[in-house]
Subunit: 180 residues, 2 copies
DNA sequence: TCTGATAATGAAAATGGTTGTCATGGTCAC
DNA sequence: GTGACCATGACAACCATTTTCATTATCAGA
């Protein structure tokens, strides 16, 4: 099990970006579509992004780069970019759907804290292997997966333990004079 | 790895239903809320359901039973019922979010075909164990997870293989007169 | 039982992410 | 150059979900 925090902090190397754009072009061609400057800009913006982002942020990012790409265009490009392995959904549980760059970093899944919403990335080959096994047993070819673990982070656990303790103490104070 | 198809076809036993309602009452009490007839009806409808369903279907179901529960009430009850372990999200990838009864059946995850949308349930203890291990290593307590495998089912694979073959054949026919 | 406080509900309106429409502009093949 | 067709932005439409608000139900205590 390795953490993939480092890879998230480095933009992908030029060769990786090139390969990604090549895949995008292939996807577009296979759909009878073209690699336009708009789509190229969206791909660049995603490849230059660090961490998770929502669509709104991506559009702002494009605007900040002086590029135009309406929200509609971004939404239209998304499935194509996903197919090309440039972007992928990150966190889908909860109310905000976020995406992340899919190249230049190890594959990973997410551990989400129900208390504070903190997201930790993890990678665990053994789980991946078992997933392939499950798919194979059902005659499926595995093309992807979505795994999110929901729990409580150490900080939130400590916080609620403290709250419980305080509650106990004030209860004891209330019940003063009538000890067991 | 066991399939849980059988359990999906049987309504939960009375004792299990009772326990579920008890948990619901506990959840409600802890939130300072009450177990009303409306909430009870929604819980009953879910407990009587087989397989996956969308909210719309649940509301129709209630209406068919002669019970009233507006969509708003159902949506308001959903998080409480989830906390009580009566209902849980089933399939979240794709465009339709579906739910399923959470009691009276083995825990399971879903394998979804990208081609035809077919959903197969599977259960695999080893994956569950590894998930707990991952959470523990990060100091999290695991409270749930969402695992969906995306792939292509045997039927869809066969279909696209056939399509590819046909495409090849007509291409050969086009190129007639210039064999290798 | 009455009464006040608070929760529950339905209907309708609001919200907000996503998708569709349409007119315009760009690009490619011939 | 011209016709066919893809791409785009602006804006409308959609639709699941949430919120609002007025009304009703329920509980606790007097």
């Amino acid at each position: 099990m390795r953490h993939s925090l480092n890879s998230r902090l480095t933009p992908p190397a030029a060769a990786i970006v090139q390969a990604a754009l090549g895949r995008l072009e292939a996807v577009l061609t296979s759909h009878g579509l073209r690699l336009t400057s708009g789509r190229r800009a969206i791909a660049d913006a995603i490849l230059g992004r660090q961490g998770h982002f929502v669509i709104e942020e991506l559009v702002e990012d494009l605007r900040a780069r002086g590029l135009h790409a309406s929200k509609a265009t971004v939404y239209r490009a998304l499935p194509l970019l996903t197919e090309a392995g440039i972007v992928q959904p990150a966190v889908v549980t909860g109310d905000e759907k976020s995406y992340e760059r899919a190249v230049g970093q190890e594959h990973h899944d997410h551990l989400v804290c129900k208390g504070c919403g903190a997201v930790v990335e993890f990678e665990y080959d053994a789980i991946e292997i078992l997933q392939r096994e499950v798919a194979a047993r059902h005659g499926f070819t595995l093309e992807g997966h979505m795994l999110q673990l929901l729990g409580r982070c150490p900080a939130c656990r400590a916080r609620s333990a403290l709250a419980a303790e305080n509650a106990n103490r004030s209860q004891r104070r209330e019940g003063e004079g009538s000890p067991p």
